[in-house]
Subunit: 152 residues, 2 copies
Amino acid sequence: MIFDAIDKKLLEYLQQDSKQTNKELSNKLNLSVTAVYERIKKLEKEGFVNKYVALVNKDQVDKSFVAFCHIKLIQHTQDYVVKFEKEVTNLNEVLECYHISGDYDYLLKVLVKDMVAFREFMVKKLTSINHIGSTHSMFVINEVKHTTAINF
Amino acid sequence: MIFDAIDKKLLEYLQQDSKQTNKELSNKLNLSVTAVYERIKKLEKEGFVNKYVALVNKDQVDKSFVAFCHIKLIQHTQDYVVKFEKEVTNLNEVLECYHISGDYDYLLKVLVKDMVAFREFMVKKLTSINHIGSTHSMFVINEVKHTTAINF
DNA sequence: ACTGAAATGTCAAGGCC
DNA sequence: GGCCTTGACATTTCAGT
């Protein structure tokens, strides 16, 4: 299918602010409202846009503590891996979980209220998952950059 | 100000899908359309909602390679830190950058097309920033979980 | 891809617990 | 203070060209 420079621009705009009206977008792109509408529908249908979401200010909802946890499993049998991934996915505090190369198997991004809550999380939730070998945590001192917008 | 159970639910819904109409939300929350509207405006005004965005499927736009880079600076003078953070923020490939505790100073999330592009990025862009001491990269094998929605 | 028109949504005003 | 109803206005959505 076609994915031209205009679609690119359109995705850029929608990644910055998805609440813009098609009219505003049509001005920026020098198109008619309907043309914009149809392009957006096409992009949604073809799977370019996964979803539209509101980004919430974590500090406002009392979740100011961010940590990254490296995790190594004891074993790497299919069983263990599937189970671990499932259990970790179900943890509300875990916003992201990546299977990665290197010394550790997984990298988790954890969001909680404070250090006390983090300790709670580690002791009661994370390490209560079986087959975890070792963990190594890093605390976020400052969020220098954080965007959901892909540049292309 | 008040931030009750309904606001909570509302934020949850908006984090899942910000394109829902107020009517749909009003049904889910057993409120009138206007009540929903006013609560949303209040949440926006009070800074609970940072922005509304479209989340783009990275694979569809040929950005399938994700890496996390640890970075250690040579020195930590105000000067070096400020400059590094600024330069890193300007790199399109860097979606996230955190100042963290531990052996390394920073953790970066980098998004590019493939391993070749990643090498390009490291050699030509990242390590051309001065005062970088050492780096350590981890490649994402699989994205097990990735959400922007905060649970509270 | 555009015009135009119907359907649907947003948002302000005034009144009621 | 928050909720509701009403109505004006804007936007989305779709048919026809």
